[in-house]
Structures are given as structure tokens and as C-alpha cells.
């Protein structure tokens, strides 16, 4: 199962939990699984969050594969001026 880590600023939506182990094959499945576990997090998942899969940062990449032994970090989406 993939190891899922949440940035500390997301704990307000997960009751303080920042680590999960989930059987997910891509980012869309990850967001779906997290949204079901933590409904308060759901509005932020697609609009506000980026992921780092094994160190590579992805934004707006719902179909990006997640391997069974991957480490996935969720954090604030990045943009700029």
C-alpha cells in the first residue's frame, strides 16, 4: 500500500491525522479515498492541493500513477505571479 503524508496545514480537515496507508493506483483514486475518509478535506483536494509522488511534484495530474510502494505527499498547490 502507498504511504500517504499530509502537509501540516491540512490537519484542520483530518482531525489531526497526517499519515495514511492506502491502496490507490493513481491521484484520482487517492483524492477519492481521502475525501471519503475526511469529508472536510474533499473541497480542497482537486482545487487546492498538489502531490509529490516519490519526490516528484505533480499538480492537476489526476491520472498520474501511484505505485504500491510509493510515498505520496499532499501539500498546497503552487502558482505564481
Amino acid at each position: 500500500m502507498a504511504k500517504i503524508l499530509l502537509s501540516s496545514n491540512l490537519t484542520a480537515y483530518t482531525g489531526g491525522q497526517t499519515q495514511f496507508e492506502l491502496e490507490v493506483a493513481n491521484v484520482r483514486q487517492l483524492f477519492q479515498a481521502l475525501g471519503e475518509r475526511h469529508p472536510d478535506l474533499r473541497p480542497h483536494l482537486e482545487s487546492s492541493l498538489a502531490v509529490a509522488i516519490d519526490g516528484e511534484v505533480y499538480q492537476d495530474a489526476l491520472l498520474q500513477p501511484i505505485a504500491g510502494d510509493s510515498e505520496v505527499l499532499l501539500f498546497q498547490k503552487i502558482a505564481g505571479g
Binding site: 502537509s7 496545514n9 487546492s48 516528484e56 499538480q59 502558482a79 505564481g80 505571479g81
Partner: protein, 764 residues
């Protein structure tokens, strides 16, 4: 599809050279057409009635007298725009909420700031339009207002939004508040880290809102036809995003709105969002005539997004040998009239240059009665970094450690875990520090009342949705269509150079143009230092697709397997070995017969570019402080920055210089000044002073190139990092010159004099 094209080291013939930009002649001869240069037959002029109050409830709007004025063809108010639900979309660094967007472009229940649009008029002349504005009767119930961020956070502050409850805190508050959102980014045990510290410095910093200061005011021209289609010419950083937002608020099908990009006279984050565009379309829809709207400079200041003003508290601790043990920050950012400042980005940039085991940043997004903030070049980062790099400087001085050496002892490197999220891949921060230390500037002698300061900056950089098309013309030249607006930095040249490099042809054989929204796939805005990174990747992908087609076509023409055809130096040549021999064909040779051998050759790419490489920079500045007048003079300035790869070094240098100069203006003079009535008092360049040429020396630049492994040429992006460090670098230089630490921006002569007087008073 999410795309990364990996970096490959190779000999380069075009990338890294300095050809003239394709838009250069048009710009120096005045032929280039900016937003206000477009006109259509029969066009009307649109003007906006704006709120004179900082905060008021709209009781009624009567437009009948204006509508009766001869020459007035249409008037629009809140009644002409649909109510929008809460729905978020990314725009620049800001995730916009369409519920708020529709209220910002045209006030509904309340006006939230001086300059807030209340109605718009289209008339046959500007004078008639202005006269009509004076005939619109608006009845207001004036409400108490709040301008300052700390005042707005008080429990008894005038409340902007009765339905706004602070997000991000548990339990959910039972009272509404101007504090829209709180975020906490943390790593480790900060309190334990402070217990390990031998030196702890804690300081508070305050900054004022500043404007992006683009020379070209917002300008657009809209033409809506009776069959429900519309054309829009507008000066923006992203015409596809403008199309999306206009279509949403006007409830149009996206395909019915075509947006043409004009040349852009600067944006810097301020032209990512809609202002007059939906009003012009609505006025055109109502009047059945084209409508042109050009903001005055006063309107730009009063009603378009500046960056946040802020209150910042920094506390850092370190050991005697200069190792940072803990870092804490509280960032209180003005969001303006609606939530959504850049405070989250600022929070993630606050300490990111350093390898910290214990760090925490509390970020507060606060609504106040000012224009809704917009992105401004590395949104929010200069504000947070002003505080952190000042405290770093103070710690280094207290310990007697050279400020660059102090930073090197704590510098983030490849593998460093950030406190906001991912670990860094290959980065060039250490290289920028080392090259700054080795630069002759760093050891040059200083005179009386002169001082030297150092500060550093970090920006993430981004990729995102990008499309590109190349067409091989019948004579072997190439037309390149890109969809990321050239925000005047010369990105068209950079894209053409990458295409030329891939094809193996001269860059002047590639003509780059910016496509409109109906001619190609979606492109996110030119922001986040993504233009050359993401659009460059799309151009490379499109070119490689065209090269594949060229190889296939030559294989058919020469009757050899495609594996036998290699594309090299602008020619299809035998791949060698047993694959097959044939007479080489140039690009022009193939193009000449393309129409008779299967059709024209083209390549296109529609990607979501991933793998942006973070950028770091180190700045050195020398200042001289006039103790009689308080004037800070910039004597010498050097920018050292890792850009990954400079495709066109001259335009990269221009980015580094321009960013530094904007940062100098932010540091020394720029600020919004409000009266007690909440009305902006300095909406013009006479009273809002941006730097002019005589204010700054030549900005020296050193380009560091640590390739981004996720770009075919190693590009990271370079536009945002250079504005981050100047404020702190100048404050550090002033402290070095006169021994006084300035924690208020701008460091204008009156503030410097006051600080000198206060220091003298304290000594007495």
C-alpha cells in the same frame, strides 16, 4: 497528459545565444499593438462608476437619467450579471471564488472599497460616458470600514462579510470574522528547537500594499453579435483564463467567446484576473455595438489588485556556531475585499532556503476594505523574506559570522526536507551563495555611511496546462504558435530558439506568434515563472512530433525504413549501419514536396507540464544613507541566480534586473496611502513613486545553471526569484551603514529620518 521531458546534456548551437527578439522592431518603432491600440468600426466607449466609499451597503441604483442621455447606448449594473455560487478555480497564485469574482467586477449588496465598480456605461464618446456616470443615482448606507490588517483581526472590527467564518481552525468559530483563513505549516518541535538555541532573535515587520506598477493600464475591446458569439481583445497574462472567467460570469458557452491576446505592457501578476472584460462584453451585448474600455491610471490604482500589506513576526534561534535550531513566523496578510491573499505561498517560502529541523509558520488571510489583492511576482514571498533575511543578518552579526557563511551553514541542498511538503531535488542555492561570495562586489571597499547587505530568495516555479503548434511552411521556414502570453520578457524568442535547436535550423527561420483562444488548446496564464519552462516543453514536444513526421515522410520518399532516417542539423540523413543509404534531404527539401507526398508537416502538443525546478537567488547591495535627508541611495547591486538553463541569456539577465529594480522600488518608496475615510490618496505615479532610471545603478547579474532534470534543456524559470531578496538586502545594507535596523517598508526618507532620530533619542 501529465508530461515531463527529461534533461539531456548535448552540444547546443542556438540555445544559450543572444539573437534579437522577434517582437523587438515592432516595439521600438511603435508598431506593436497593445490593448488600447485596438478599435472596431462603430465602437462605443465604456466607463465605470466607482464607489466613493470604503464600505457601504447599496440601497438603490437608478440609471434612468443616464440611459436617457443622448449618446448613451447601454448601462449595466449588478442586475445584468447572474448570482454565482461558491466555486473555486486557480488563477495566478490565487484560487478565485466565482461568488467573489462576480462581486468584485460589479458590486452587488455592498461596496467593499474605494473604487469598487457600481455601474458601467457605454456611449458614443468618452465625454458622454463620463457625463452619464454623473447621472447615475446610487443611494448608499455608509458603514464603518477597516484598512489595517491588525485592526481588521480585532474582535470588534467592522465586519466585511457576515457569512465569513474563519476556515482552518477547530472548533469552527461561532462568530463571523475578517480572518478568512488560518493555515499552519510546521515541522519538528519548534519549542524544543528554541531550547537548543544560544541566540534567539525576535522581530516584527510591517509592509504596505504595493502595486505591480505595469505601465500599460488594463484595456479591452469587446464585440458581441446577435447570434451570441463574442470577440474580445485584451491585454492580459492569460487569454484562455480570461475567456474561462468571462464565460463563467456571463454564462456563455466557452466556444462562443474568442479572446485575442494583445501585446502586454507589463503584468507582473496583476493581469491574471478579469476587471473590465465582462463589463465590456455585457455592454456590447446590450448595445449591439463594440465596446472599448481603457482604465485610467487612477482606476488601476483604486480598483485593480495590488499585493498585500502585511504584519510579520519572525523568531529564530541558533547555536553559537551558527546553526539554526528553530524558526517561527506569523504572517498576517491583507487579502483586500475578498479572501484569498498570497499568504499560503508566502508561508511556504518563508524559511525554505534553509535546512531546518524545527520550523513553524502561521499564516492568516484577512479581509479589509481595500481592492482585492492580486498576484505580484513571487506573490507574498518578498514580504515574508524581508523579515526572515533581516533576522538571519542580525544573528550572523551577533555571532560575528560572515552573512554568506552563515547562510551556507544552514543552506537547503538536494535532499533537504522542506517544512511545507516535498524534499528538494537538484537545486543551486549553495552555488548562488558561493558565487556571490566570490564576486568582486562582495569584497569591494565601502565609504562613510555606506553599507553592504545580502539576502536570498526562493520560488517554487510551476508547469501546468500548455499547448503549442508548429507548422513547416512550403519553403522550409517554420511558424510556431504558442499560447502563453509573452509578458514582455522575450519568451517568444526563447521558444523559437528551442524549436530551432530541435530542428537544427537558424532561429530566424522560426516565426513565433501567440495564438488566440480559438486556434489552439488551453494554456494557463504566464505566471509562476512557467512560460519558458512549460511552453518550452510544449514547443519541444510539438517539434519532436514534427520531426517524427519528417522522418516518416523522408522514409517514404527515399523508400527506406523509418529507422534508417536520422534528423540531424536540419537534414534527414542516413542513420548509418545496415539500415539503408539515401541522399539526405533538408527541411526545405521535404517542405517543398510535402504537399504532393501526403500533406503539410506539422507538430502539436497539448500537455500538462510537470517537474518544475525550484529557483534560488542571492543578492548583494551597497547603499549610502544620507543622515540629513534620510535618502537611501543604491550604489551597486548584484544578482546571482540559478535559472537552470538560460535559453536566451540577455532576456534572463533582463528578468533578474527587472525583478531587482521592482524590489528596490518596493523597498524604498512604494506604498498605498489611505485617508481616515478609507479613500486612497495617491492613485497616480506622481504620488506613488516607482523607481526611474536615475534611481538605480546598472544591475550586475551572474547566471548560475544547475539544470532542472525535468526539462529538455534544464530550464527552471527565472522571473519571480529576483524580486524576493531586495527589500531584505537593502535593510541589511542600511543596518551595515548606520547601525539601525529598519523593519518598516517602505524605507522612505521620512521613515529613515525617524529611525535615526529614534535611535539618537534612545542613546540620549
Amino acid at each position: 497528459m501529465s508530461t515531463m521531458i527529461k534533461y539531456e546534456e548535448k552540444d547546443l548551437k542556438v540555445v544559450g545565444t543572444r539573437p534579437l527578439r522577434p517582437d523587438g522592431v515592432d516595439k521600438v518603432t511603435g508598431r506593436a499593438r497593445f490593448g488600447a491600440d485596438y478599435s472596431l468600426p462603430g465602437q462605443l466607449i465604456g466607463k465605470v462608476l466607482r464607489s466613493p466609499h470604503a464600505h457601504a451597503r447599496i440601497k438603490s441604483i437608478d440609471t434612468s437619467k443616464a440611459e436617457a442621455l443622448p449618446g448613451v447606448k447601454a448601462v449595466v449594473t449588478r442586475d445584468d450579471f447572474a448570482e454565482m455560487p461558491v466555486e473555486f478555480a486557480l488563477s495566478g497564485e490565487l484560487t478565485v471564488n466565482f461568488h467573489d469574482v462576480t462581486r468584485n467586477m460589479m458590486a452587488r449588496e455592498k461596496v467593499y472599497y474605494d473604487g469598487h465598480p457600481v455601474a458601467a456605461v457605454a456611449a458614443t464618446s468618452e465625454s458622454i460616458a463620463r457625463k452619464a456616470l454623473g447621472l447615475i443615482e446610487v443611494e448608499y448606507e455608509v458603514l464603518p470600514h477597516v484598512i489595517d490588517v491588525l485592526e481588521a483581526m480585532k474582535p470588534d472590527a467592522p465586519l466585511l462579510h457576515e457569512e465569513q467564518y474563519t476556515e482552518g481552525v477547530t472548533p469552527r468559530p461561532d462568530k463571523p470574522s475578517n480572518l478568512a483563513k488560518r493555515m499552519v505549516f510546521s515541522r519538528g518541535d519548534v519549542e524544543a528547537g528554541f531550547r537548543q538555541a544560544d541566540v534567539i532573535i525576535e522581530r516584527e515587520f510591517n509592509t504596505k500594499p504595493v502595486h505591480q506598477g505595469y505601465i500599460e493600464p488594463q484595456a479591452c475591446l469587446a464585440s458581441y453579435t446577435e447570434d451570441g458569439q463574442a470577440d474580445l481583445w485584451t491585454a492580459s497574462q492569460g487569454h484562455f483564463v480570461i475567456r474561462s472567467q468571462c464565460a463563467k460570469v456571463l454564462q456563455m458557452e466557452v466556444s462562443k467567446l474568442r479572446v485575442m491576446p494583445t501585446e502586454l505592457g507589463g503584468g507582473f501578476g496583476g493581469k491574471n484576473n478579469i476587471y473590465n472584460e465582462p463589463l465590456a462584453i455585457a455592454l456590447s451585448r446590450k448595445s449591439h455595438r463594440p465596446v472599448k474600455m481603457v482604465m485610467t491610471r487612477e482606476e488601476v490604482f483604486r480598483a485593480t489588485g495590488p499585493t498585500s500589506g502585511a504584519n510579520v513576526r519572525i523568531k529564530m534561534g541558533c547555536t553559537r556556531d551558527g546553526r539554526i535550531t528553530a524558526a517561527h513566523a506569523e504572517l498576517n496578510f491583507q487579502a483586500g475585499a475578498f479572501p484569498g491573499s498570497s499568504v499560503a505561498m508566502a508561508a511556504m517560502c518563508t524559511f525554505t532556503r534553509y535546512d531546518l529541523e524545527h520550523a513553524r509558520v502561521v499564516a492568516n488571510d484577512v479581509t479589509v476594505n481595500r481592492p482585492k489583492v492580486a498576484a505580484y511576482r513571487a506573490p507574498g514571498a518578498p514580504i515574508a523574506v524581508f523579515g526572515v533575511e533581516s533576522v538571519i543578518d542580525e544573528m550572523a552579526k551577533k555571532l560575528g559570522i560572515d552573512p554568506i557563511e552563515f547562510r551556507l551553514r544552514n543552506a537547503a541542498r538536494e535532499g533537504t526536507q522542506t517544512y511545507y511538503g516535498p524534499k528538494f531535488g537538484p537545486i543551486g542555492y549553495v552555488q548562488t551563495l558561493e558565487q556571490a561570495r566570490a564576486h568582486p562586489h562582495y569584497s569591494a571597499p565601502l565609504g562613510p555611511n555606506q553599507g553592504r547587505g545580502v539576502a536570498t530568495g526562493f520560488w517554487f516555479n510551476i508547469g501546468s496546462e500548455t499547448s503549442s503548434t508548429i507548422n513547416v511552411n512550403e519553403d522550409g521556414t517554420v511558424t510556431l504558435m504558442i499560447g502563453t502570453v509573452d509578458v514582455a520578457g522575450g519568451s517568444r524568442a526563447a521558444m523559437a530558439m528551442m524549436v530551432a535547436e530541435e530542428l537544427g535550423i537558424d532561429v530566424d527561420k522560426v516565426r513565433p506568434i501567440i495564438g488566440d483562444t480559438s486556434s489552439m488548446g488551453f494554456n494557463f496564464i504566464t505566471a509562476g515563472s512557467r512560460g519558458t519552462f512549460a511552453s518550452g516543453m510544449a514547443c519541444v514536444a510539438a517539434t519532436r512530433q514534427a520531426i517524427d513526421k519528417l522522418r516518416q515522410r523522408v522514409a517514404q520518399i527515399r523508400e527506406v525504413p523509418v529507422e534508417a532516417v536520422l534528423w540531424k542539423d536540419g537534414h534527414a540523413v542516413p542513420a548509418g549501419g545496415e539500415a539503408g543509404q539515401f541522399a539526405p534531404m533538408s527541411l526545405a527539401d521535404v517542405a517543398k514536396v510535402a504537399g504532393r507526398t501526403g500533406g503539410t508537416i506539422a507538430g502539436h502538443a497539448e500537455i500538462n507540464a510537470q517537474g518544475a525546478g525550484p529557483g534560488f537567488g542571492t543578492h548583494i547591495v551597497d547603499v549610502e544613507v544620507d543622515k540629513q535627508t534620510g535618502l537611501i541611495k543604491i550604489l551597486r547591486y548584484t544578482v546571482v541566480q540559478d535559472v537552470g538553463k538560460a535559453i536566451h541569456p540577455a532576456y534572463v539577465e533582463g528578468q533578474l534586473q527587472g525583478g531587482a529594480v521592482q524590489g528596490i522600488g518596493w523597498a524604498l518608496n512604494e506604498e498605498y496611502v489611505y485617508g481616515d475615510d478609507g479613500v486612497l490618496q495617491n492613485p497616480g505615479f506622481l504620488d506613488y513613486r516607482v523607481p526611474v532610471a536615475s534611481d538605480v545603478p546598472f544591475i550586475d547579474t551572474v547566471i548560475v545553471e544547475v539544470p532542472n532534470p525535468n526539462h529538455p534543456y534544464g530550464v527552471r524559470g527565472c522571473g519571480e526569484v529576483p524580486i524576493i531578496a531586495p527589500m531584505a538586502a537593502i535593510a541589511n545594507a542600511v543596518e551595515n551603514a548606520i547601525g539601525i535596523r529598519l523593519c518598516e517598508q517602505p524605507m522612505s526618507p521620512p521613515r529613515v529620518l525617524k529611525a535615526i532620530d529614534d535611535a539618537a533619542g534612545a542613546k540620549a
